[in-house]
Amino acid sequence: MTHSTVQPTPASATPVGGHLLELRDLHVEFRTNEGVARVINGVSYHLDAGETLAVLGESGSGKSVTAQAIMGILDTPPAVIRSGQILYQGQDLLTRSEEQRRQVRGKEIAMIFQDALSALNPVFPVGWQIGETLRQRAGMSRGDARRRAIELMDLVKIPGAAKRIGDYPHQFSGGMRQRIGIAMALALDPKVLIADEPTTALDVTVQAQIMDLLADLRRDLNMAMILITHDLGVVAGVADRIAVMYAGRIVEHADVRSLYKAPAHPYTKGLLESIPRMDVRGQELSTIKGLPPNLMRIPSGCPFHPRCPYVQQVCVDVVPHDLVLGDGRTSECHFAQEVRDDSAR
């Protein structure tokens, strides 16, 4: 077989004391009246202190569900975590009680959401909402919480924070609302920040400002960050590593530089080729043909095979496993080596 040069090996080296956050073979499904949707099918990734992992994928690939599983805010039912482990500082969160998990939320792992308008409560002032975390979780007095809320609003660069603390979410622009969401997530100095498509609902110029802010804050506060996005452009400047998701699986996992240089999975390759290039005139936009799979009927073998230009019989029959391509990269493709060699050309 053509992929004989690639041999399955265990994941890359673990730092002393283990990873800060590690997912092991997570399976999540949604049980609805129409049937069972297999949303997460064996996701494993890890995050070390101080680094940024980008999770990339199109809508329905399971990237947000994975994040919500880490936070423990999945609606169960309909969601069911079938198997797997979510290790935070070596402890499996999935075996903890709800009360123990609540203590982790916000304090250890915090999250910011895509649509800041609906993510904020419309009937409470923003300062009250930021301060609520401090009063409820850190036992601060009203006055202290208020002062700290102003500090946090200053930290995320909201002009005139002290004056705007009594304003309601609808009185802010999209970018400012997202900053409030970030301030709220930072209230308890979390070690991990999960940003779930933080810029998708924003204008392009504002997107860049928010991404810069997140990168600065991550560095200044020495957090680790999981950046969930479907936008390859957002990832490049911020992330250290990228995990590409498709149909509830991590199909490719690599550091940013080598992934951009030579993707080793046909799906990643397709994504990169579909970015319009400013330096080539009159080119036809390249697209990935077909549609993402229905999660109630995921194709046999490699879930990407119906859309894949490299498809062979083996792809229909055999589910590819993580193939390690040296320098810590993995790709779930039977022809990973070939794809990478093609891409590198």
């Binding site: 919500q68 609540r102 959401f113 419309p122 609520e132």
Partner: protein
């Protein structure tokens, strides 16, 4: 906000004249001989007829005569004089005696709707598709399906007459206890609607994105529900209850009739039955004002509850 209230008040003036005019026209258009209606079965002498024609300006005929009488009526109305009922009593006195009873009844009904309807609605909304949710659904549909004209006599017969848990009728100067059963009957409809509304609103808000944010902040579930979800869910419920209080005050004709409660609805019903034109028009004019004011209060309250609402 001030400009908005001012504009609404001006609109209310128009609405007030419009409705009183229509009620006035309808009430007196149907009458053949108002003087004979006033006298009832007894014969009317020529002298009496001449006196009454003079007094009520019945000599002016046609549309001109109608408007002449209408404006005459409105003029005294604006001076606070509701005129005399055909029975000879001052309508102002009748209303003064009837209002406290009706207000008490309306408040009992509203309290029933809030205590049972809103509470059960919140529980049903949190426990969607549970046994509690489904049984309240069936019960509320049942209550909404039974008209008051059936429910009130049934309640009176079983709870008042047969099992004697409550006084079957209220009579003049009713006590709180005597008004309790009528209040529950009157409030049952508001209760059912408030329950459905609260349930839907809570269920919807529990799925809102801001609840997910509140959970990610690590708040306890109790706080998420009682502070975040309830504050949002109760906005439509409070507005509904405000409008409902206006409805309840504007006379529960059937309930007051069945339980013999001397309130506004009872008097209105008697006025209609005895073709007492001045009484009907007088009561309806006051009810129109009550309704208009309560609606304005609800609109203002809505803006207070929901910071997103701004009136210009």
């Amino acid at each position: 906000m001030f400009r908005y209230i001012l504009r609404r008040l001006l609109q209310m003036v128009l609405a007030f004249f419009g409705t009183t005019l229509i009620v006035y026209a309808l009430m007196f258009a149907g009458q053949g001989d108002p003087i004979q209606a006033l006298a009832g079965e007894r014969p009317v002498t020529e002298a009496q007829r001449a006196y009454l024609t003079e007094k009520y300006h019945l000599d002016a005929t046609g549309v001109g005569g109608f408007f002449y009488r209408y404006f005459d009526y409105v003029r005294s109305l604006l001076q606070g004089d509701l005129g005399q009922s055909l029975t000879g009593r001052q309508i102002g006195d009748i209303l003064q005696a009837a209002w406290p009873v009706t207000v008490k009844l309306a408040l009992i009904a509203l309290a029933v709707a809030i205590i049972f309807g809103v509470t059960a609605g919140v529980v049903a909304g949190i426990r969607r598709a549970s046994i509690f949710d489904n049984s309240t659904l069936v019960l509320t549909l049942l209550v909404l399906g039974i008209p008051t004209i059936v429910l009130a006599p049934l309640a009176q017969y079983f709870l008042g007459v047969k099992w004697q848990l409550f006084p079957p009728t209220a009579g003049s100067e009713p006590t709180f206890y005597a008004l309790l059963l009528p209040g529950i009957v009157l409030g049952s409809l508001s209760l059912a609607t408030a329950l459905r509304l609260t349930r839907t609103s809570v269920a919807e808000n529990l799925r809102a994105d801001y609840v997910r944010t509140a959970r990610s902040k690590g708040l306890v579930k109790r706080r998420i529900v009682t502070v975040h979800v309830l504050r949002n869910s109760l906005i439509p419920v409070v507005t509904f209850l405000g409008v409902e209080l206006g409805n309840l005050m504007s006379g529960a004709i059937i309930t007051e009739g069945v339980f013999n409660i001397p309130g506004v609805g009872f008097n209105l019903f008697r006025g209609i039955r005895t073709e007492d034109g001045p009484l009907v028009v007088g009561i309806v004019s006051v009810l129109v004002v009550v309704y208009l004011v309560s609606n304005l209060v609800v609109d203002v309250l809505y803006a207070v509850l929901d910071p997103r609402i701004r009136y210009e």
